[in-house]
Every structure is written in C-alpha cells, then in structure tokens.
C-alpha cells in the first residue's frame, strides 16, 4: 500500500503520496473538483503556492482535453507525488482524437509552459494525457 512515506535525501525530505484516483462524469463543472483535490494533494506534499497554481492549470488542461475531445464517457484522473514531482494522468474513451485540433494545440502550449514534461498517448480507443510539475528544492 502506498502510504505517505518520508524519504530522506541529501537536500530535503521528499514525501511520496498517492496514487489518488478520481473518476467523474464528463461534466465541465467537475474540473474545479479535480483542481481542488489536486491542490489538496500538492499542499500536503509541500508544493508552494506558485507550484500549486501550475498544478491547477495542468489538471484543468488535462480535463479540457479529455472532456472536450473525449467520447462523453467517464473521465479518470490520477495524482501521484514522488521524487519531488507531481504527476497528473488522465484517461477517457475517445472516438477520433485530432491531436492537431487548434484547441488541443492551445492546451498543449499551456502544458508545455507550466509542466516540466507532458504527453498524450492514444491506444485502443482511449486517450491518456499526463503532465508533471517539479517541486523546487529549497
């Protein structure tokens, strides 16, 4: 079981938390619930206010991509903190997913700026979108 564990490193203690998994209907208003849950996970693992702002944007962009471009099925988002990195990973069923759709390009532009890394994978009729925000050491 992945309980919270404090791992001592040379510089800081890095807290491991998760996975916290959220499953919700593709309701635009629930994006806020996903952001709230993500903020909670991030704040208890010591991310600072600016980093939490980035995490909220990252989670929201994942929700935008999945809700606006998915096939109107349940959305699953998972939050994981380990090694000083917050990762959100979202997935849903898709019909056809145009990675070059202008809205999705805007979405990825934002993810590129607020995340250290992100990606979109398509397989077996599902889209998986993930994004990571790094914690500052100090």
């Amino acid at each position: 079981m992945a309980e919270a564990v404090d791992v001592a490193t040379d510089e800081v203690q890095v807290r491991t938390v998760g996975p916290v998994r959220l499953e919700l209907p593709p309701d635009p208003s629930l994006s806020r619930v996903a952001r709230l849950a993500a903020s909670g996970v991030a704040s208890l693992t010591g991310f600072n206010v600016d980093e939490i702002d980035d995490i909220k944007v990252a989670v929201s962009e994942v929700m935008v991509a999945l809700i606006e471009h998915g096939a109107d099925c349940t959305i699953a988002v998972e939050f994981d903190v380990s090694g000083g990195s917050f990762t959100v990973r979202g997935t849903t069923v898709i019909d056809d997913f145009d990675v070059n759709h202008p809205d999705l390009v805007l979405c990825r532009t934002v993810l590129s700026a607020v995340c250290s890394d992100h990606g979109i994978d398509l397989n077996d009729g599902r889209a998986v979108i993930w994004a990571s925000v790094e914690q500052s050491r100090g």
Binding site: P28, S29, S31, S60, V64, L106, C107, V110, A113
Partner: protein, 120 residues
C-alpha cells in the same frame, strides 16, 4: 419557481456603466457564462451604434474576482477579441491578477488585449 439553489462556478454581470464584472474561475464551466455576458454587452454596443465616448466598441472586463483561468477560458476571451477587432474595438482587462497574466504570456496572447490595470 424560486432561484435555483445551484451555485455557478463563475458570475459575470454587465454593470450599469457597461463594465462586465467577473468573479470565479474562467474554465470549461465558467467560459460559457462569461460568453453570455460578453454577448449581452456586444448587443448593447451594437444598439448604441458604438458611438460612445471614450472608446467606442470596447468590451471592458473587471477581472478583480478572477483567480483562475485555463485554455478553455482563454478561448472565450480570444473570441471576444476577434469580434472586437472586426468592429474596430478592443477587449480591455481591468484589475487583472497574475494567474491570468501568466496564461496570456505563455500562450503569446497578451497583445490581443488592452491591460488597463493589475489587481492591487
């Protein structure tokens, strides 16, 4: 039927002086609510013949109550800038917070807007 009990994630109202006062998150849920208020203001401007002082055709948004925006919300703002441009006007952002400024910067869309003031 009384007022619905449900609380929208965003409120956007056109005040008496024509300024759209926004409070809440401009996201997938808030964007469409904001678009309704912008459409209401655009209809006023069209009815006025857009010949008012000081800035004919401008849509002014008071963003003091906005602490979150994502790309879906930005698209609502950008479509207002496109229409404003077509009629020779601008979208003016008043009391903009750092969260909004950041998203405009990283998407390279800051120059689509007229930033009147930052949130104090």
């Amino acid at each position: 039927m009384t007022e619905p009990n449900s609380i929208d994630s965003l409120s956007a109202t056109v005040s008496r002086d024509g300024v759209i006062v926004i409070a809440g998150d401009i996201d997938m849920a808030g964007g469409p609510i904001l678009e309704l208020a912008i459409a209401e203001r655009e209809a006023q401007l069209a009815a006025d013949g857009a010949d008012h002082e000081p800035s004919p055709g401008d849509v002014v948004l008071d963003m003091a109550g906005v602490f979150f925006i994502d790309s879906s919300g930005l698209r609502s703002l950008l479509s207002a800038t496109r229409r404003a441009g077509e009629r020779g006007g601008k979208v003016v952002l008043r009391s903009v917070g750092p969260e909004v400024t950041r998203l405009l910067e990283i998407t390279g869309t800051l120059d689509h807007f007229d930033i009147e003031s930052q949130r104090g």
